[in-house]
């Protein structure tokens, strides 16, 4: 590994000939180190989570763990309201962000003239650059009063959180689906148009199906962004450990997400207590959910990709 014969053969001077292999060796190993360190860190994090959060699943009876009340200072650890809270906010955010993001990507990639693209793309990247706390603050100051005036008992609801999260995951969804559309070969469009398809038919029947795997990745990454977001959600969802009912409007009720619970309660909890373990237990649940989403995305992309190349090429 340390010597590279192709560099040593030319006798242009020993010094120069040796310098390059050392540099190469260094860079190669730095890259290897960087690559390995991410794997090691993920494994360490997971082990730490299991060590700190594991006791929660052993010490709390399962029936209580899936109970409907979360009141940790009295030893009531029902995770159901937190799970439901995260679920409602995330599903809400995805429902808003996916159609909006896809339409935006299609417009950018297929319809918009170049000069519009050049203005819009940097603007969307700027949206990605807005810190989540700023969006949360906007939600608290602008969006929450609007929703309250629209008739909700309070503006701090799952819906408010869903809108903020939707805007937070939009840039991810737009730019990745746009890349996927861009990667569709131009011949596909030419072919479709040549046999008399309209632009809309080309987009809907040819380009979108061809870009499907990239779009699935975009949606999954958007979900990942939404479920893990903490601060902004904490500011606008009201943090009531409450299971909304259909009759009460479901999405127009305050909820408490898993991430917000960890953030709000971690600071004051006694290390090693059951409450502390349970907060890490919530971390494990989040980890498992994100992992499941990512592997699902991987599988969908894998099968679709294989089918496409197998069928068409």
């Amino acid at each position: 590994m340390t010597t590279n014969p192709s560099v040593i053969t030319p006798a242009v001077g020993q010094k120069e000939g040796q310098r390059i292999p050392i540099g190469e060796w260094l860079i190669e190993n730095l890259i290897r180190l960087a690559g390995l360190s991410t794997i090691v860190i993920v494994v360490l994090i997971f082990l730490f989570l299991v060590r700190e959060g594991g006791p929660a699943f052993l010490d709390i009876p399962l029936r209580q763990l899936f109970g409907s009340r979360w009141y940790p200072i009295e030893g009531i650890f029902g995770l159901l309201p937190l799970l439901v809270g995260s679920l409602i906010v995330t599903v809400g955010a995805v429902t808003i962000a996916v159609p909006l993001g896809l339409i935006c990507a299609i417009y950018l990639g297929e319809i918009a003239p170049t000069w519009q693209r050049e203005i819009l793309k940097p603007l969307i990247e700027m949206l990605a650059g807005i810190p989540s706390i700023v969006l949360g603050f906007l939600g608290w100051v602008v969006l929450a009063p609007l929703i309250q005036n629209a008739g909700a008992a309070t503006g701090l609801t799952a819906f408010t959180g869903a809108i903020i999260l939707a805007y937070m995951s939009l840039p991810t969804i737009i730019s990745i689906s746009e890349d996927a559309l861009y990667a569709v070969p131009k011949e596909y469009r030419d072919g479709a148009l040549a046999i008399g398809a309209t632009q809309w038919q080309t987009i809907w029947r040819v380009v979108l199906p061809a870009a499907r795997s990239g779009i699935v990745i975009a949606v999954m990454l958007g979900i990942g962004r939404a479920i893990g977001e903490t601060m902004a959600v904490m500011m606008v969802t009201g943090n009531a450990a409450n299971i909304p009912t259909l009759s009460s409007g479901l999405i127009f009720e305050p909820v408490r997400t898993m991430t917000a619970t960890i953030a709000a309660e971690m600071g004051e909890v006694a290390q090693g207590s059951l409450h502390y373990n349970t907060l890490f237990g919530i971390g494990i649940v989040l980890f498992v959910i994100t992992f499941a989403i990512n592997s699902l995305a991987g599988r969908i992309v894998g099968t679709r990709g294989a089918r496409r190349t197998g069928g068409k090429l």
């Binding site: 190993n29 390995l36 409450n242 709000a264 309660e265």
Partner: protein, 297 residues
């Protein structure tokens, strides 16, 4: 092998950097000279106030450094009994058995009332309700009353606001109002209660939401932007508004004294520190942090 070594170095450095961030600012600095260190521990309700006092006192007397830690009133009192702290902070009075345990260790605990904690019940300025009993408040916060018309207001849902569960104020409100000082009462806040991360979160939601009700330390309340509710202990008792005067004379029901305990009559540095806390310099900070200063006598 070399990569492993690198990796471990990297991890170690990262951990060292991380652990460096968590250092306590209240730690006594060991500078030579006649430095006097005071150990101060106890109530979490008092911990911010105690920290603010300790910080401000550095400018008054730089030779005294005060280390403040929380942990709860019981922890502080236990440490005083064991002789490991100079001053214990407590949001309740010492119990008889604690006094006995202290004297068994040869320690005579001396009590100082250092500030008053009064919780104002706040609603929106448009809300017609202006008086509530503790019973009504308990029913509201446990979810037995869910509409303002049941307590004489408009036909509108009640939006409950509370501090997060890790707040000492939350626990105080739970014991004092939700459970009405009954230690056998196991009622808890209704699940619909919105938990706000800060006092400011409560006041700003109350200001814009006509259906909201919340509680806050008196220092956070501005009566030109939100309305305070007059509270009565029961239906026969008078309704009392939360004001500094009513908090100080004890007529406002949701208020309590906050204490500091010393081991024996305080001497030199501890005595001057306590005198400063009870004087105008210390009491100004009490007001700044949203507590009720002691009445001037």
């Amino acid at each position: 092998m070399k990569t492993d070594l690198w990796l471990w170095t990297l991890v170690t450095v990262a951990l060292l950097l991380l652990s460096g961030c968590g250092g306590s600012t209240a730690q006594a600095e060991s500078t030579p000279g006649d430095q006097r260190a005071i150990q101060n521990k106890g109530s979490d309700t008092l911990v911010n106030l105690a920290l603010a006092w300790a910080e401000a006192y550095r400018e008054v007397d730089p030779s005294v450094s005060i280390a403040v830690t929380g942990g709860g009133s019981g922890t502080g009192i236990a440490a005083l009994i064991n002789g490991t702290v100079d001053i214990a902070n407590a949001s309740r009075q010492m119990k008889e058995n604690e006094y006995e345990a202290a004297s068994a260790n040869g320690i005579e605990a001396v009590e100082f009332t250092v500030a008053i904690d009064a919780l104002a019940i706040v609603v929106n300025l448009e809300n017609p309700v202006s008086e509530l009993t503790i019973d009504q408040l308990a029913d509201i916060y446990t979810g037995r009353i869910t509409n303002w018309k049941e307590v004489g207001g408009n036909d509108a849902p009640i939006v409950l606001l509370s501090r997060e569960t890790n707040s000492g104020t939350h626990v105080y409100f739970l014991e004092e109002v939700v459970r009405k000082r009954d230690s056998d009462n196991k009622d808890i806040f209704a699940p619909q209660t919105l938990l706000m991360p800060s006092s400011v979160g409560i006041t700003s939601e109350v200001r814009r939401n006509p259906n909201a009700i919340g509680y806050d330390g008196l220092g956070y309340v501005d009566t030109s932007h939100e309305k305070t509710i007059a509270v009565a202990i029961d239906a026969d008792a008078p309704f009392v508004l939360p004001t500094v005067a009513n908090g100080a004379d004890g007529s406002y029901p949701i208020s309590r004294d906050l204490y500091m305990y010393t081991a024996g009559q305080p001497t030199d540095a501890i005595a001057t520190y306590l005198a400063w806390i009870l004087g105008p310099g210390g009491q100004r900070i009490v007001a700044e942090l949203g507590f009720v200063p002691l009445p001037e006598n």
